[in-house]
């Protein structure tokens, strides 16, 4: 680093030599002149005169050796720091404003970056795809968020015939109970086919992957553990590999452990089990599996879609739904592959929310910048004399501008540093309290990219709020201010224009943010009024209990056990009633669906009737959950144990099939020709099964104990729903003591039964609207910040104008103006700005809120009520903010104001 050494160490020597040389020059010149006969004094003066400005020349000579721009910059930095220190109130207000703005931006950006921008945590994850399919021809399916899932036969057809995938597989999530160690425990299970782990390509931490041989229908059952479960249950003991654990009362051999941090697509899990499909037994139907694949290098999604389209006929030719059925019946479904990158599937519909939030937070930042600009404008105004002196002493205007910019950028960067600290705290809070359904939540962290982003917006905003004051006041005309210091001269209109425009902009932006927050509030209110199909969610305790086949084999015994549990639960003090069903609304376990046939209707064998949502319920379920019976009655235990063919239907289904709910009662339906006709004994109100915002599906409620469903072949054996959600209505729901009694009650019936997903329906509901509440909270915060900043902005400007016009107001009062007139004059100035801002804001809001239409429910983006309310409220608050300084203006004492000169 020779240049550094030269510039730092030898520079002193260079300067010394230069100085010596210059003085020698003057001496020599003086001597010369004296030799020519000039007196000493005169000669010295003449020598200096001839030489020119000695100091300047010496400085110019030195400048040659300096890294000029850097040193000027450092000087500006030092000067800026001094200025910031000398004005602590300004500095603190400015810094806090910027810090909050940048902190919020950095926090939201880190979320956007972690969730939307960063690739998934798998090797070459861009090759991973989700096998999404739609079936527009399959009536009743259209509502399902997942499109048409894959059947096992589809998996076989695709994996055997594809040309575009390097591996392909299917998976599903579920639960199982692990027994044999301490208390029975319900664990989260992912069941995979061969090809899934190969596609994800994440090597095991210990042992090996599940492989093709583990899929053999009659082979031994094996299992992999998640890192977390391995640590929790076996303390990371490697000798556990090869040993057995009891899963659903069945011994499974542990073959491997997945590494730390491995998540299955976007789910946490404890165990990975293998499907054991018997290829020979597969039929076409059974669309319940998620398909995942890895594209061959270079293959595109379009090619993969074409590949699937090509394989669909192969699938229909290779399998059937049983003798006498037409396999090509599925052509009417118009099954179409819509393969998506796995990342898109993981992110889901949250990207819209995040971009909207990012946009609003960006707007808040702009408002904050406007405020700081205003502060700087005021400050530069009061520093005009100083700037004029600097200019008069020879500072170029570029130099003054750069000095001011360095100051504002420093303010930005310092604010940014505090802001990053705030962002750290904010992200921590977000991850801790964040919506559980925000995908990749565990991956959210502030990384390098966020820091770069924060730094960039710090500098940019510093430039942004520094440029306006710098160019306004440091332009090449500063002599005027030197004389006056802005004391006598009345304030020109032009001088306030920048500030007024900033305030108008702030009001407009605040209005946009408040309108979007208002729309979310309306959405939330609309969601709250939806008739969900259950009541008083806070007092509904739910939990899931599964009874494995190996624990209790006989279906009737399963139901008897469940009823025994109900009896014990009902005996707990404070319990009003208890019941169970295959699932509660919005739980998302994915119940079944199939078509039904009506008695006395002739069906075309080549058309599949619409698919209906199937649920199994216990007697008393609707009374417990709070769903209204529109007609008829609930089933009884006698009917259940007698396997009596009775059924309930939802109101929308009843209306569709028979016109009115009342007409439905007594009608008969069945699932297959081989089944007895079931009589409709009751009609239940529509239930929002798939979420508050999703329309209620047409539903059939079967008894929990009846002939096997979804299975065409005879003989029909009796079947009981083994995995059910128990629902208990009690004012004590959710309390620890209550849950303890619930557990004891269950275990008094069978001590091997674990309880899972223990929560209240309020939790389920909150999860279902989490996306909306998250958006609401974020927009609410942004709106509140915008409002606060906007109010501070308008207050500040009006105050400043009043203080500048003190003398003028004094003269007006002295000449006989009424205090009312003065008040009106100041208020009207504020009102003009606010009105302009509101008008611009309304136009902007109409244009921008369209972007969030997808997040709204029960309200349009152009909701006049929201727009009107926000506009009026904003105007009132803004006028109040003007009122305080306006009143101060009326208090001006004419004599004091005039004598002030």
């Amino acid at each position: 680093m020779s240049w550094l050494r030269r510039s730092l160490f030898s520079r002193r020597k260079i300067y010394g030599e230069l100085s010596e040389e210059i003085h020698a020059h003057i001496e020599e010149k003086t001597e010369q002149l004296m030799a020519d006969g000039m007196p000493k004094k005169e000669a010295e003066a003449a020598a200096r005169r001839e030489f020119g400005n000695l100091t300047l020349m010496e400085e110019d000579g030195r400048d040659v050796w300096r890294w000029l721009s850097l040193e000027n910059f450092l000087m500006d930095v030092r000067y800026g720091l001094r200025m910031l220190r000398s004005n602590p109130v300004f500095t603190v207000v400015g810094l806090l404003t910027i810090a909050i703005g940048i902190g919020a931006n950095a926090a939201v950006f880190s979320v956007v970056n972690s969730v939307l921008l960063r690739p998934l945590n798998y090797p070459t994850s861009q090759e991973l795809v989700f096998l999404h399919q739609v079936a527009p021809g399959a009536a009743g399916l259209a509502d399902f968020q997942n499109g048409l899932l894959l059947s096992p036969s589809m998996y076989f057809a695709y994996s055997e015939n594809n040309r575009t995938f390097s591996s392909i597989g299917v998976w599903d999530t579920g639960a199982a109970s692990v027994t044999g160690v301490a208390e029975p425990e319900q664990v989260r299970v992912v069941t995979v086919s061969n090809g899934v782990l190969e596609a994800l390509r994440v090597a095991p931490e210990a042992g090996r992957w599940l492989s093709a041989e583990d899929q053999e229908p009659r082979g031994p059952s094996r299992v992999m553990l998640s890192y977390g479960y391995w640590q929790r249950r076996f303390a990371g003991d490697r000798t556990m590999i090869g040993k057995n654990i009891q899963v659903d009362s069945q011994p499974l051999q542990i073959v491997g452990v997945m590494p730390k941090g491995f998540r299955f697509v976007d789910t946490d899990f404890d165990l990975i089990e293998a499907f054991k499909f018997d290829r020979a037994q597969q039929i076409l139907a059974g669309f319940g599996l998620h398909g995942i694949a890895r594209l061959k290098p270079g293959a595109t999604i379009a090619q993969a879609n074409a590949d699937i389209t090509r394989m669909l006929p192969i699938w229909m030719d290779s399998f059937s739904n049983g003798p006498g059925t037409n396999p090509h019946i599925y052509e009417t479904w118009k099954i179409t592959p819509m393969i998506r990158p796995l990342k898109a599937e993981v992110i889901g519909n949250v990207s819209e929310v995040l971009w909207v939030v990012m946009g609003t937070i960006g707007l808040v930042m702009l408002i904050a910048c406007a405020n700081v600009t205003n502060l700087l404008l005021v400050r530069v105004e009061s520093r005009q004399q100083e700037l004029a002196v600097r200019a008069a002493l020879g500072a170029g205007w570029q130099r003054i501008v750069s000095g001011l910019l360095v100051e504002s950028v420093m303010l930005g960067v310092m604010g940014g540093m505090i802001g990053v600290g705030l962002a750290y705290a904010g992200v921590r809070a977000l991850v801790a309290f964040g919506p559980a359904n925000l995908p990749r939540l565990s991956e959210i962290a502030i990384g390098g990219r966020t820091l770069i982003f924060a730094f960039a917006i710090s500098v940019l905003s510093g430039l942004l709020f520094g440029l306006i004051p710098a160019f306004k006041y440091a332009g090449p005309r500063t002599t005027l201010e030197l004389r006056s210091g802005g004391r006598t001269i009345s304030v020109s209109r032009e001088r306030h224009r920048a500030r007024n425009l900033l305030v108008v902009g702030q009001v407009a932006m605040a209005l946009v943010l408040l309108v979007s927050a208002g729309l979310m509030i309306r959405t939330f209110a609309a969601l709250r009024t939806v008739d969900l199909g259950f009541t008083d969610a806070l007092h509904l305790q739910v939990m899931r209990i599964s009874i494995p086949h190996l624990l209790i084999a006989k279906p009737e015994q399963v139901t008897r056990t469940q009823q025994a549990i109900l009896d014990k639960l009902s005996a707990i003090p404070g319990v009003k009633s208890a019941a169970f069903a295959s699932e509660m609304p919005m739980e998302g376990f994915g119940a079944g669906w199939d078509c039904i046939f009506l008695e006395g209707v002739k069906y075309d064998p080549d058309v599949i009737p619409p698919l209906r949502y199937f649920k199994d319920v216990s007697p008393g379920f609707f009374q417990t959950s709070g769903a209204r019976l529109v007609a008829g009655r609930e089933m009884t235990w006698t009917e259940v144990y007698g396997a009596r063919p009775v059924v309930l239907v939802s109101e929308n289904l009843a209306r569709e099939l028979w016109g009115t709910p009342r007409a439905a009662v007594g009608k008969r339906i069945r699932e297959f020709d081989s089944r007895p006709w079931s009589e409709v004994i009751g009609v239940v109100q529509d239930v929002r099964e798939n979420g508050v915002q999703e329309i209620a599906p047409e539903t059939v409620y079967w008894p929990t104990l009846m002939g096997m469903k979804y299975q065409l072949e005879a003989p029909v054996s009796l079947d009981a729903q083994r995995s059910v959600t128990f629902v208990i209505r009690s004012d004590r729901a959710g309390s620890a003591s209550f849950l303890n009694e619930v557990r004891q009650a269950v275990w008094s019936v069978n001590s091997s039964l674990p309880l899972a997903s223990v929560r209240t329906m309020e939790d389920v509901y909150a999860k279902s609207v989490a996306r909306t509440s998250f958006t609401l909270v974020m927009l609410g915060i942004a709106g509140a910040m915008a409002l606060a900043l906007g109010i501070i902005g308008i207050y500040g400007v009006i105050s400043f104008i009043v203080s500048q016009r003190r003398r003028e107001i004094g003269i007006r009062l002295a000449l006989g103006a009424q205090r009312r007139d003065v008040l009106e004059m100041v208020l009207s100035q504020g009102a003009k700005m606010t009105l302009a801002g509101v008008a611009i804001g309304i136009v902007a809001a109409l244009a921008l809120t369209r972007l969030m239409a997808g997040l709204l429910f029960g309200v349009t983006a152009y909701d006049p009520l929201t727009l009107g309310t926000v506009a009026v409220v904003l105007m009132i608050i803004a006028l109040l903010a003007c009122y305080i300084p306006a009143r101060r203006a009326t208090k001006v004492d004419p004599m004091v104001a005039l004598r002030y000169e």
Binding site: I14, E17, L18, E20, E21, I22, A24, H25, E27, E28, K29, E31, E50, F51, G52, N53, L54, L56, M57, E58, D60, G61, R62, D63, V64, W65
Partner: protein
């Protein structure tokens, strides 16, 4: 007081004259400026001090080098010498200047129809 007018005709002119003068013989600062003034028949009003920043620039670009020595008046002075790079630079600058001068002269000369 129109300082600018006296100081430099155009950027680089002073440097060129310094280099040209040093080409003839190594000189120290004072002698150098006297030499330039004399040779220009005092047509060019050069502030003597402006020589030094120019010399520093040339030193930095290594077009001249300096050594401490003793002047004819028995004073410790820095004597400047042209370097090889300086000689080359001078040649290039002079030819560029001549071209420029020619161009200017042609434009300024009375037009011939």
């Amino acid at each position: 007081m129109s300082k600018e007018k006296q100081r430099d005709l155009f950027p680089g002119a002073l440097e060129m004259m310094i280099l040209r003068t040093l080409k003839r013989q190594p000189l120290h600062g004072y002698a150098l400026v006297q030499h330039i003034k004399r040779n220009s028949d005092d047509l060019l009003q050069i502030e003597e001090g402006s020589l030094y920043p120019a010399l520093q620039r040339l030193l930095k670009e290594e077009l001249v080098k300096a050594e401490w020595g003793v002047s004819s008046t028995n004073r410790r002075v820095r004597i400047y010498k042209l370097t090889a790079a300086g000689a080359k630079h001078l040649e290039r600058e002079v030819s560029r200047f001549e071209r420029m001068l020619e161009g200017i002269t042609r434009v300024l000369s009375p037009e011939e129809s």
